[in-house]
């Protein structure tokens, strides 16, 4: 990028001298320096911005309003949305940031410029918090948006069949409601940083007021680069930690393996809060990579081997990679698979290795690189509170193992921990704060539903409440397969009940009895007390499996309300929806 982009325009709200002065610094500055400066100012701004309220940082003249909506579960879209806001503000726009969870679609009609940054979850579903609004937006009675200019950035994961489904749907919906697409949608994979940054740059350029060069200020990656984060926010850089404990908590008779992983940071533990997660940067299974290289006829390439093990996603098989394989190898069968439209079905439960094994052909290192995307980190709820474990962070990781299409499959990160990492080893992690899943005021009661690894954040909650002597009561619902072999942290819960940091614990073990019992069954059994607690202002937390558990638990709570307060199904549903709106029904599911 050439430096003219960075010269401060005369129209800037500075005196002549200041402009000259600034240009002397900014003009020759390297991209990095400029990036830092921009980030720094934006950071400072975003902190004060709140205080200054409507006051725009850059232009003197009234800035044009722009609404930025994000539909986010694990925070990526949310982060990008605030990056967008910062860049927009610097470019003469007056951004309003809003979580789709809090959006009333009817208010959109007033918006002149509208940006959606939306992630897709579940199997092509909206992030949990956004479900309600998303439904309203898609409903027939959704408001017309004629004259609204919009653009959509979609986040997703090509590993999923419904890649970026929600972003795509919103993009189409806004158009059908009469809004005008002024920025084309971009669908981001897990390595979204660069494409998202570029998209934001272009979008701001398009939407910022035409005058001057302002519109052409490049957007800056506000990501985890040093100094780029707003003052006072925790360190979200990748840091090294030492594995100080690694215990399979399931009994040797269990058919599951769930690991308690204790990480120690010698002094620089990220300042996490109960409810936050850690991104774990895992490595691939060398045995798998070796087999892959053997099939590709690249066994001799040591450099490639190392690169694949450490940095590439060598397991995920997406339509994109099938396409790449067909094009670069010219494999006729694979091409036919795509042309016949059978590829989408074929890749289900298959991995990259199946593609090369079932359609063998000589593959170059380049092709193999092109077939893989960067290896993305895996998120794990932090199972400890710093007030109890100080410089450590604990994770609870279930080993993902299954068989499909004649092969034994092993989840990359969970088996990296379960099988390849040893005590004393170093692993790389990154804090993933979660504003939407924290503890309430100390005097509030909490109800925690966390079967399986879903219990992880609640161990952090209970530790925190013990350390802070919180007055609020706490009630945990835990479940797993067998009482005797799968009762994770059993002794710790018993202690917590004794010292009062846990008020109540109800358990559901699905394989101890002929008829399976799950947490949602226990919730129903205890419905009277449950509704009592909630009427007294208790917060309701759900963590763990998103596919079934989270839905069943919500349904159970609805019928609990219906039964206890003898409400119609609709009214019971509204009661729970109200909890969600009040942010007293909080989920962290995966």
């Amino acid at each position: 990028m050439s430096s003219i982009y960075a010269t401060i325009p005369k129209t800037a709200p500075f005196s002549e001298e200041d402009v000259a002065l600034l240009n002397r610094v900014v003009g020759p500055a390297s991209p990095v320096q400029r990036a830092w400066l921009a980030g720094f100012l934006a950071g400072v701004e975003s902190v004060q911005g709140a205080a200054l309220g409507a006051q725009p940082a850059a232009p003197a003249r009234p800035a044009e309003p722009i609404t930025i909506v994000y539909a986010s579960e694990s925070g990526n879209s949310e982060k990008l949305a605030s990056d967008f806001a910062k860049s927009a503000r610097k470019n003469g726009l007056k951004p309003t940031l809003i979580d789709m969870a809090d959006l009333e679609p009817s208010n959109l009609t007033a918006a002149k410029k509208l940006i959606f940054i939306a992630a897709t979850w579940g199997e092509g579903e909206p992030p949990a918090r956004a479900v309600r609004t998303y439904g309203e937006l898609m409903a027939d009675n959704a408001p017309r948006l004629d004259g609204v200019e919009f653009g959509v950035l979609a986040l997703g994961d090509t590993a999923y069949a419904e890649f970026c489904a929600i972003g795509k749907a919103i993009d189409a919906r806004l158009e059908s409601l009469g809004a005008k697409r002024v920025v084309d949608r971009v669908d981001c994979d897990l390595d979204f940083a660069v494409p998202a940054e570029t998209w934001i740059g272009n979008a701001v350029k398009k939407l910022a007021p035409e005058d001057a060069d302002r519109g052409r200020v490049i957007a800056v990656d506000f990501g985890a680069k040093e100094g780029a984060k707003p003052a006072g926010s925790p360190n979200t850089d990748i840091v090294e930690a030492e594995v100080t404990e690694l215990i399979n908590l399931n009994s040797s008779r269990s058919d599951k393996e769930t690991y308690h992983l204790a990480l120690s940071f010698d002094g620089h533990a990220p300042e996490y809060k109960p409810g936050d997660s850690l991104d774990l940067y895992a490595e691939n299974d060398p045995a798998y990579v070796d087999e892959l290289l053997k099939l590709a006829g690249l066994s001799s390439d040591a450099k490639l081997r190392d690169e694949l093990i450490r940095t590439r996603d060598v397991t995920t098989l997406s339509l994109k990679s099938v396409e790449t394989y067909a094009t670069q190898t010219g494999h006729t069968y694979v091409r036919r698979l795509l042309d016949d439209g059978e590829a989408k079905a074929w890749i289900v439960d298959r991995q990259l290795i199946d593609l090369i094994a079932e359609f063998p052909t000589a593959v170059t290192a380049e092709t193999l690189r092109a077939l893989t995307r960067p290896l993305a980190p895996r998120a794990y709820s932090i199972a400890s509170s710093r007030s109890e474990v100080a410089d450590e962070a604990h994770l609870l990781i279930s080993a993902v193992r299954y068989r499909s299409n004649g092969r034994n499959r092993q989840g990359v990160a969970s088996n990296y921990v379960a099988g390849r990492v040893k005590r004393g080893a170093k692993v790389r992690v990154k804090l993933k704060p979660n504003k939407h899943f924290g503890l309430p005021a100390a005097d509030k009661d909490i109800i925690m539903v966390g079967p399986g690894t879903g219990v992880a954040p609640f161990r952090a909650f209970v530790q925190e409440r013990r350390a802070t002597q919180a007055a609020g009561k706490s009630w945990l619902f835990f479940g797993d397969r067998q009482f005797t072999h799968d009762f994770l942290y059993q002794l710790e819960w018993q202690d917590a009940l004794n010292d009062g940091s846990l008020t109540r614990l109800d358990v559901a073990f699905s394989r101890d009895t002929p008829e399976k019992v799950y947490v949602q069954n226990r919730l129903l059994e205890r419905r009277k007390e449950l509704v009592e607690w909630l009427d007294n202002g208790a917060y309701f937390y759900v963590c763990g499996d998103a596919k079934n558990m989270a839905k069943d638990v919500r349904a159970a709570l609805v019928s609990a309300y219906a039964d206890v307060k003898s409400l119609s199904p609709e009214d019971a549903e509204r009661a729970v929806a109200a909890l969600e709106r009040d942010k007293r029904y909080l989920t962290d599911t995966y």
Partner: protein, 578 residues
């Protein structure tokens, strides 16, 4: 007796409100698999033991889990008799709630292991549906009443089992706690009232109490090992004219404490059939009042007899029962073992006795014995009197098989290895449960004896003794659950892979054995016995039993009725001299 002298269990019983304790509350606590410490004593009276899987102990706390607690349920079944329908119910709960196996015991009951607390009530309801219960199968009360299990061979056996049922019913605790806790029965008001237990009272007996009934010539119930025994005395026509009463037998002892010892019962005298129940009650109440409630290791009837003397005890029983004992009538026992295979009952039906190694009914690779017995039970289900009968040797009898079904049932049994031609040693073997469930085990027993017998069979084969009946019994600790001190070869756990070797008991169960070697391991046992087998093979008199031979040949001293059990122990002559 000053209250504070009493043993802890006496206080627990006293405070338990007739065996209720805090069991009902404890069952509701889903966070632990255990129950309160005092309740662990009380729950025995309900027929259960809280245990934990000792194989898993080493890993539990590291995995942040409490011990792998579960419960063992012992069913009460006088004379070892269950209907096919009841057997099927037990098989079902064992597979649904238990560890997938059933355990035939040395006292003719069935034990189910591995039932977790949260499943106890569900499983108790299921056995209740088929009219089975477990009350008083354990605890300081009269336990399951044993009786020779094959009543169809003669009217005498019929009377024996009838008496077993009568005594069992009469001496079963009357407390409503059992139905209250396990079957959500009505809580009877005034449970505190003494009339609840007319025979036992609030504190029941000082210790467990065991009653058996034998019909000569078979001593399969090991009559001399029990607190109270009835020996049927028959007239020429095979009718029971009355009973010889035995009292004061018991096996349990503690290593290194010579004031604890096994004891063979004494003959108290003869009574007519009409007085049998009166005597049972009088013996029980005398032991209730005379037994030692301070020291549980000295609380069994056998010690009461030693302390007070047989005559004093007899006099007291005569007083309480309002009768006089006649001199014991002559009788003769031939063996303590079972007769395998078919026997014809006088009603024309066949009874099939099956060998179940150490009583463990399971589906193992190549021997699906649990499934086989299930199929047999299904076939026998509608046959009148087609009972299953657990023997005192941990085996099972399929009673009253109509001629038409005999071939089919035999085929099933044979295929499952329940009729295999075992060596004379194996078919006379018993081992207690021990590891991993028994909390008192010092060494393996049930899981080890089969492989020890493999080794001994080689040595026996070498000396041409494979077919000879020799009684061998093993226990994992000195409590003597498999009556090892009445076995010609007795092995008693001392520590991991270490056993005490006892020799010289009588084949008919009338004489205790004597300690021959201490702390021997597998190789030591085989090495110690091989020369004795060789000597037995070459030097025995005609028909002489191994247990008698080792005494006559001077390898080991003879034991009297128990007090001398710990006297002149050890090998009397260098084994190699044999």
């Amino acid at each position: 007796m000053a209250d504070d002298d009493l043993s802890r269990n006496e206080h627990i019983k006293q405070a338990s409100a007739y065996l209720r304790g805090t069991l009902a509350e404890g069952l509701k606590d889903g966070v632990t698999g255990a129950i309160a410490e005092d309740d662990q004593q009380l729950v025995k009276f309900h027929g259960m033991y809280m245990q934990d899987d000792r194989d898993l102990r080493p890993e539990r706390s590291r995995k942040k889990m409490e011990k792998a607690f579960s419960f063992m349920i012992r069913v009460r079944m006088p004379g070892g008799v269950v209907t096919p329908q009841q057997w099927l119910a037990l098989d079902h709960v064992a597979r649904t709630y238990g560890n997938g196996t059933m355990r035939l015991t040395t006292r003719q009951t069935v034990q189910l292991h591995g039932i977790i607390k949260s499943n106890l009530k569900a499983m108790m309801r299921e056995i209740d549906k088929v009219l089975l219960d477990s009350i008083a199968a354990c605890g300081d009360v009269n336990r399951n009443v044993m009786s020779n299990p094959n009543p169809y061979q003669s009217r005498a056996h019929a009377e024996a089992i009838e008496l077993a049922r009568t005594i069992s019913a009469h001496l079963t605790p009357k407390t409503p706690a059992y139905r209250e806790i396990w079957l959500d029965g009505e809580k009877i008001a005034g449970g505190e009232d003494n009339v609840v237990e007319p025979i036992y009272g609030k504190t029941y007996l000082p210790r467990k109490f065991k009653t058996v009934i034998a019909v000569p010539p078979s001593n399969d119930v090991d009559i001399f090992a029990h607190d109270l025994g009835y020996i049927a005395i028959l007239d020429g026509a095979g009718d029971v004219t009355g009973w010889n009463i035995t009292i004061g037998g018991g096996m349990g002892m503690t290593h290194g404490e010579t004031d604890t010892y096994p004891r063979t019962a004494d003959l108290l005298g003869f009574i007519g059939t009409g007085d049998a129940l009166k005597v049972a009650e009088a013996v029980v109440t005398t032991q209730r009042d005379w037994g030692d409630r301070k020291n549980r290791k000295h609380a069994r009837l056998k010690y009461t007899i030693e302390d007070r003397g047989l005559d004093a005890f007899r006099a007291e029983v005569e007083k309480r029962a309002g009768l006089k004992f006649e001199a014991p009538k002559p009788f003769k026992f031939t063996s303590t073992g079972d007769r395998y295979g078919w026997t014809q009952g006088d009603n024309g039906n066949g009874h099939l006795t099956l060998f179940v190694q150490n009583g463990r009914v399971a589906d193992l690779a190549g021997a699906a014995q649990m499934s086989a017995l299930r199929r047999i039970a299904e076939i026998q289900d509608d046959v009148p009197g087609g009972d299953f009968r657990v023997t005192a040797n941990q085996n099972i009898i399929i009673a009253n098989v109509p001629t038409a079904q005999q071939a089919a049932i035999e085929a099933i049994a044979r295929e499952a290895g329940l009729l295999a031609p075992w060596s004379g040693l194996r078919r006379n073997s018993m081992a207690c449960v021990a590891l991993p469930t028994c909390g008192l085990a010092l060494a393996e027993s049930e899981r080890y004896l089969p492989s020890l017998i493999d080794a001994l069979d080689v040595s026996l084969g070498k000396h041409g003794l494979s077919a000879d009946d020799i009684v061998i019994r093993m226990t994992g600790c000195p409590n003597g659950c498999a009556r090892p001190y009445l076995a010609e070869i007795g092995l008693v756990g001392k520590g991991p892979e270490r056993y005490n070797l006892y020799l010289g008991a009588a084949f008919d169960g009338s004489r205790l054995s004597k300690l021959y070697m201490s702390d021997v391991n597998h190789d030591g046992i085989v090495a110690a016995l091989d020369p004795l087998f060789s000597a037995y093979a070459s030097q025995r008199d005609k028909g002489e039993r191994f247990g008698d031979f080792v005494i006559r040949a001077g390898f080991v001293a003879k034991t009297g009725n128990g007090a001398d059990f710990h006297a002149n122990t050890g090998a009397l002559k260098d084994k190699t001299a044999a």
